[in-house]
Symmetry: C2
Subunit: 284 residues, 2 copies
């Protein structure tokens, strides 16, 4: 078996947004910290499936003994950026019992009648759970800014509210991983055309995607502002070059593995005498 | 690569409960319709992962174009019977976006204040979704019968209510697959001891499991009655020999694949002119 190619520099370092970050300077084709090719990426991804699943089980197990830790992966990106693929190919090895997945669509009239965080709060992960948000509270400062649905002062209130919300989640035991999957406008065109070329993917095609595509530059500006305003110490942003799907997947896998490691998870210590219980089971 | 061993007789035939079914006559070690060994089972399971995922995507896709079909897998069985393993090893290849998983635990005080189907109704799959119940409405006629928490006339009402409930789900587009994972009392002992022998599994061990184990014969009687009372044409029971985990997994996979096939799923036809859309995307 060929030797695995590993990252030389961890994505939590290379992809974490720092001071003076400019989305415009990010290369969506890049593979920072990884010198391997697609096959190497796929091999690395598969190799770490088991580790990810073990972390998730430990997190779940801790909560059965009173642990309050949890993990929340927030995925943002333009249409076709690969959010669904991350869920399907990176997070799938985890036990569905321990995963809360939520895809946030356009809000319902009921949801719209509340503060924008109302529907988000209902979906945050319970103790021991891994939450995955496919889109999130950030839609309320992205599409809203692009189309001018929300005035500037309300957008400002929302950035602050998001930071307070995420700080509160963190204080109650949640490790937040925020990811923007960054593709180029040309790459999106290729992916839309690929959907049209495959009858099994026609259902994913929507003319509406083109409407948003027309506002590409405005979206990038909205992302830049949102990232600037909400790139906090407890919940920093990671901008993941995503023109190469395989790279985006191993990068996000690394970010999630790193977040799990930060949680310092341990198998719960037995609160019973194993030998005594063995006896009881044997006799039962 | 070795040739795949396939079922010679489909589990939807061999494991489906028929007239005069007796749980006591079922051999939990059997592998009906399958002549292969463990390695053959694992190979078959892996081989059909992709087919299962494709079915699930088709189901989801149909619902985006107005389809109302859905699938509900109901898993019942004694502790350690392998319900979680089915979720993790059989159903995991499906896109989490299209799966609604629910593990029913002991009801909360709020849940208890309603009819027993109240909390179940809230978890039925939406159009296009695959629902998975780890335990279900059947707990309300199993543990309740075993411990006498519910008088006989109320149990009778519940069997009827369950049949009406499942008929209504079926009428509104749901294909229901009911599975009892059948292990022997000795096999449960082995699995409990195995949990005690592995520190990474201690968190799964609970003295409370032994309390229920002591009522094994009563549980088997309760299952027999529940199966007799709720084995309807639209939602028949399947009793899956589960002493061999690998067999239970391929058997349930076959049952789910068969249910998907019965739904006659098709990729939605494009409601747009592909050539026209290609032009528009190219120019966008």
């Amino acid at each position: 078996m060929a030797r695995l190619v590993d990252f030389t520099k961890h994505p939590s370092k290379t992809l974490k947004v720092g001071n003076g970050f400019a989305l415009a300077d990010t290369d969506p084709d890049a593979t920072p910290g990884f010198s391997g090719m697609k096959a190497d990426g796929k091999a690395l991804l598969a190799d770490l499936d088991g580790k990810l699943a073990e972390y998730q089980e430990k997190l779940f197990a801790e909560s059965r003994f009173g642990g309050t830790k949890r993990l929340l992966l927030i995925l943002q990106g333009m249409d076709t950026a690969g959010k669904g693929g991350i869920v399907n190919h990176v997070m799938a090895p985890m036990d569905p019992q321990g995963v809360q997945f939520k895809a946030f669509k356009a809000p319902t009239p009921e949801e719209k009648s509340y503060d924008f965080l109302w529907r988000i709060e209902k979906e945050v992960p319970a103790a021991g759970m891994v939450g995955i948000f496919d889109r999130s509270q950030y839609e309320d400062v992205l599409i809203h800014r692009v189309h001018g649905w929300t005035p500037p002062e309300e957008l400002k209130r929302r950035y602050v509210a998001i930071n307070e919300f995420e700080a509160r989640l963190t204080d109650s035991g949640t490790k937040i991983v925020k990811v923007m999957l960054y593709i180029s406008r040309d790459e999106q065109k290729e992916r839309l055309l690929a959907r049209l070329d495959n009858p099994a993917k026609h259902w994913k095609y929507s003319r509406g995607d083109l409407d948003e595509r027309a506002f590409w530059a405005d979206y990038m500006a909205a992302y830049q502002v949102a990232i600037d305003e909400t790139n906090t110490e407890v919940a920093p942003w990671h901008v993941v070059p995503a023109n190469k799907k395989w790279f985006a997947r191993i990068a996000v896998q690394q970010l999630v593995l790193g977040a799990f490691a930060d949680l310092h998870l341990e198998w719960p210590k037995a609160d019973f005498d194993v030998a005594v219980e063995r006896e009881i089971v044997e006799r039962s």
